[in-house]
Symmetry: C2
Subunit: 413 residues, 2 copies
């Protein structure tokens, strides 16, 4: 029974966005060696200047630049060699006019020096005499105290997914552990009397749990954790019990397979059967993905995804992914690339239409080839690089037209 | 001491490529629920047709299309309702002329039907009489037996990194586990008397292990496993002992921090001190990254990466990453996007030059802003979306010119 009006894509997105604040993810403290891919839950500031002293970026001689002004190959400057800066140790000398001190790459500069001449442009004449054959500019080959980061400067913004370079920067600031959001816990329930898990024998008329495994992969690629996965028969009580268990264990419940009228009704009824259960969305004017249901119980969202693999994956990309990202406050720019569409596409007017495409360079132009075919075919999806979005007021696309392709975030075309 | 000639980038790549076949990664069998991100080490073929029977893609009535030809809202076709196809069960009826059978989405079709009319275009008049108000085409709303995959068809090619949809396809074929390469085991040794780990107190003149942690992140982002990480003083014996231990534990050794002449010499000497040790590359004409050393011992590569964070990261991207990908036979297209460079860049002639850039849309045009600054600054790297490559015979780049940006594979701009 469906007394709900079909929502537009933008209405559906707004409804889901309003739910974000209901879910508070747990926080954990994690050592920086293990924080890659986690999302910072608070701003991290440097407690020190980085570097904490003036360093040379080359192997060479710390000098006063006035002393080497005009130095050339044939008329070198002649300086008194006053010693070495030793790696990892304090350099307490102060350079006087006419003096040079050897500094290795990364070594600490003496006070009073304002440039470093690379060793290639010098010649040591005796234990205390050095020729310099090139002038240098003020500050040349020096990283100054605080150049990389100043004390109290922001290192990591809350909501950033930590990458390799962030780890380097945290290490540079001497930060050993940071607070991150725990992974979002997701339950995945595949519904249908015909669905059989892949390690069990199958009979004619039954099918394998394609969507359950694809959703497991999508959740883990997003940094979520699948805490419960089950296949449930089309039975109101079984589904209710499994959703109740999922709401205990998980932050988010994904029901998959409810494309037939019967299953849709069960999903609807189960959500409403919880004391605080509420249906938020029942049907969205998108193609594919129309029979999507979104509800809430115990302050947690329950997505009833369509049964066709392509539709299930697309609804995950356009609705579940943004929800999971917003819950963890993730600040990121998604990868959207420009490409030429290789064939004309007719779109359903009044519906937001999504088409999977495969990207490839041809004659040095990036081309997006639509992956057309029945949306029940998972084999098509494995060829997709991303998708294009034809908005509800657009007529369709002409062959050769420039389109934006939203890349699946797998780091590969 | 360096008696080696500086290698061009292409020479260096060729030398490293020739080493790939020396390393044979171990193989493990892994259940498909846990295989996301692993790389298939052999082709996987379907042992069954998917689906294994003809299925409906909608809730509706299986018919013979000739029986509903010309049916309209006002002049519907009238068919005898012969029963229901039940989800997950064999449909053994054979449809006769003038008959219809109800089939839910995903349900098995009866023999003799060649199309399914959506329930929306029908009206049930009595328990055995149904009106159909729309004609359909041959095969409409049917996925045929084998449409998704045929028996013996390739599901996953050797060298493919398994993604969410591959998991779905494997599940669809009833495959429970596959053989993948074990993660490449990597040892990361940061060298330098001045380097202190981030949980230890630091004195003036010392610095933190920035590169060690950035490399940990880069390795794990690529799907590798860091099996050993240590900070080693600039001492020949200590370095030799640590490299020897690393060669026992790991498939690949990354030495970081050897930018000063002293450390470079140690790296060189340590590699040569192994009975089968060989220096393959000592210096590459790239900027940044010139002082890179590559050697081999016990059939395993040892990369001596430059000490500056930017240089270390770039050499990882352009040399270590392709090596790790080739060892696991990874077949993928890297993400390369076209953007407009926001300022003119002068490049060092005769050298391959790499510039980190930050990508952002401005006025709907993707622009690449060079991240300029001293290559010792890790804070710059955290802003980078990717890099551009100015080849050794190019003069430089003009503001506004189109450039290819190689994205760091983190799924974000």
């Amino acid at each position: 029974m469906n007394f709900f009006k079909i929502r537009s894509l933008s209405e559906a997105r707004a409804i889901i966005h309003d739910e974000v604040s209901r879910l508070k993810l747990e926080v954990e403290r994690i050592s920086i060696g293990a924080c890659n891919g986690f999302i910072a839950c608070e701003n991290v500031y440097s407690e020190v200047d980085i570097p904490s002293f003036d360093r040379s970026t080359v192997d060479g001689y710390a000098v006063k630049i006035d002393d080497v002004m005009g130095a050339t190959e044939s008329i070198p400057a002649m300086l008194k060699l006053k010693g070495d800066s030793v790696m990892g140790e304090v350099m307490s000398e102060t350079l006087q006019k006419g003096e040079a001190i050897y500094v290795p790459t990364g070594g600490m500069l003496p006070h009073g020096s304002d440039g470093v001449v690379m060793i290639e442009y010098s010649e040591q004449m005796s234990s205390d005499l050095i020729l310099i054959r090139q002038p240098i500019a003020f500050g040349e080959n020096i990283i100054y105290h605080g150049d990389d980061l100043k004390k109290e400067q922001l290192i990591i913004e809350a909501g950033k997914r930590i990458n390799a370079y962030d780890m380097g920067l945290l290490a540079g600031a001497g930060i050993n552990a940071i607070n991150v959001y725990k992974k979002i816990k997701v339950a995945i329930l595949s519904t249908g009397d015909e669905v059989v898990d892949c390690h069990l024998p199958i009979k004619m008329g039954q099918i394998r749990d394609i969507n359950g495994y694809a959703l497991m992969g999508l959740v883990s690629e997003l940094g979520g954790e699948v805490v419960h996965k089950a296949i449930i028969r089309d039975d109101m009580n079984a589904l209710k019990a499994s959703v109740a268990e999922s709401l205990e264990k998980a932050d988010l419940v994904l029901l998959s397979g409810g494309s037939s009228v019967g299953t849709r009704d069960f999903t609807h009824q189960v959500i409403e059967s919880f004391a605080d259960g509420e249906i938020l969305i029942h049907g969205i004017s998108i193609k594919p993905g129309k029979p999507t249901i979104v509800g809430r119980a115990h302050n947690k969202l329950i997505f009833g995804l369509p049964g066709h693999p392509t539709a299930s994956a697309l609804v995950f990309e356009i609705l579940v992914r943004p929800y999971m990202e917003s819950v963890s406050n993730l600040k990121m720019k998604s990868i959207k690339v420009n490409a030429q569409i290789t064939e004309s596409i007719h779109s359903a007017s009044g519906k937001d239409t999504f088409i999977m495409v495969n990207l490839a360079y041809e004659d040095n132009v990036l081309r997006a080839k639509p992956i057309l075919g029945k949306s029940g075919l998972i084999s098509l999806m494995t060829k997709a690089s991303g998708y294009i979005h034809i908005e509800s007021d657009q007529e369709g696309l002409y062959k050769g037209q420039d389109v934006n392709v939203y890349l699946f975030k797998r780091g590969e075309l």
